[in-house]
Symmetry: C2
DNA sequence: GTGGATATCTAGCGACACTAGCAATCCTGT
DNA sequence: ACAGGATTGCTAGTGTCGCTAGATATCCAC
C-alpha cells in the first residue's frame, strides 16, 4: 500500500526532474541541445526511461510548455490586478507578456513556436492555455468597445507575438520595443 | 570558351532545379520532408552534388526564402501602387501580405520562421529583405503621423506575422481574419 | 593520345529519435 | 520462507538525418 505510494512519489519526482532538466538545458543551450541522449545523461538514467514517462520528445516539450502557460497566466493575472485603472492594466499585461518572453526565450519558444501535442482552439485545449488568453481578454475588455474585445485581444496578441519573434530573429530593432508598446497602447487604449 | 559557358549554364540550371524542387516538396509535404536524400533523388543526382551548390541544407532554405522575399516585394508593390488612396493602399498591402502567407505556407515559413543564414538588421542584410519591409513602410507613411511611420510599420508587421503564425498553429480563429484586419486598419488608418 | 583538372559517385561517419528484448528487482500469495 | 509473476531499467540495436572522404569516371588542353 504505502510501497506503491512511495513508488508513485518517486515516479513523479523523476517526471519533474525530466521536465526541469529539459527546461534548464533549453534555456542554457537552446532546444537543439535537448536530445534524448543528453537528457538521459543529465538525469542519470538511460534513454528508454524517458519513454516510460512521455510518449516522445514532443510530449516532453509540450509538458514544459504547459507549465509555462501556468506561470504566464499567474504573472499576467498579478500584473492586471495590481494596476490602478484599465489602461494601466493593459499596459502592465503587455509589458509582463514581453518580459516573460524575454526572460524565458526557450520556454516561450516551446509554448508558441515549437511543434507540440498541445491542441489549441479545440475541445481538448488544456485549461492553462485558455486561461492565458483569458487574461489578455480580461485586460482588453476594459478598454475596447463592447463586442470587439476578443477580436482586439487576438490582434494585440498577434502584435505581441509577432514583435517577440521578429525581434528575436533580428528583424526588429530591440531598443525600440518600448516605443512600439507605447504606440500599440495609444491605438488600442487611447484614453490612457 | 563556349564549353565553359555551357557548363556554367548547366550549373545554374541545376541550381534552379534544386531550389524549385525544394520549394515544391516543402509546399507539398512540409519542410520536414525536404531531406538531402530526398532532394537528391528528386533531381536525379547524388547527395554530394547539393553541397557543390550550397553550403548545407540551411543555405538551400535560405536561397528559397530569398526568392520568396523578391516575390513578396513585387506583389506588395503592385498592390500598393494600384490602390486609389493611402488607406486603400495600406489595406491592399496588408491583405496581399496575408494572402501570400496563406498561399505559400512553406515559403513563408522559410522566410520568417526557419533558421537560415539570412541576416537581418545588419550591414549584410540582402536587398530583397530590406525592400520587402520598405514596401510596408511606404504603405504606412501615408497614413501615419510623421516620424512614427517606421515604428508603426514594425507594429503592424508584428501583428500580421503574429496573426499568421498564431492562426496557422490553431491559436486564432481563421474565419475572423477579415475582422481582425478591419480592426487593425481602424486603429492605424482611422480616416479610411 | 595522354596527363591533369573537373565532375560525380559510392560508401561511410557520427548523431538523431525511438524500441526490442533481456536482466535484475520487487511484491504477492501460499 | 520462498517461488512466480509483474515491474523496472538496461544494453544494444534500427532506421534516418546532415554531411564528407576518397575513389572513379569524364572531359579538355597540350
Amino acid at each position: 500500500m504505502s510501497i506503491r505510494a512511495r513508488r508513485e512519489r518517486e515516479y513523479q519526482r523523476r517526471n519533474q526532474l525530466i521536465l526541469d532538466t529539459a527546461r534548464r538545458l533549453a534555456e542554457a543551450e537552446g532546444w537543439h541541445a535537448v536530445t534524448t541522449r543528453r537528457l538521459a545523461e543529465e538525469i542519470e538514467y538511460s534513454q528508454p526511461v524517458l519513454y516510460s514517462h512521455f510518449h516522445g520528445k514532443e510530449a516532453i516539450v509540450g509538458a514544459v510548455a504547459l507549465k509555462g502557460f501556468e506561470e504566464l497566466t499567474g504573472t499576467l493575472r498579478a500584473a492586471r490586478k495590481s494596476a490602478d485603472d484599465p489602461t494601466a492594466a493593459l499596459r502592465a499585461v503587455i509589458e509582463t507578456y514581453l518580459d516573460f518572453a524575454g526572460a524565458n526565450p526557450a520556454l516561450y519558444s516551446a509554448m508558441f513556436e515549437l511543434s507540440t501535442p498541445l491542441a489549441f482552439a479545440s475541445a481538448e485545449t488544456p485549461g492553462p492555455l485558455i486561461e492565458t488568453f483569458g487574461e489578455l481578454i480580461a485586460a482588453v475588455v476594459a478598454v475596447a468597445p463592447a463586442g470587439d474585445a476578443e477580436l482586439a485581444a487576438e490582434v494585440i496578441w498577434g502584435a505581441l507575438h509577432g514583435m517577440v519573434v521578429l525581434e528575436r530573429s533580428g528583424r526588429l530593432r530591440p531598443a525600440l520595443m518600448r516605443e512600439r508598446v507605447d504606440l500599440l497602447l495609444a491605438r488600442f487604449a487611447p484614453e490612457g
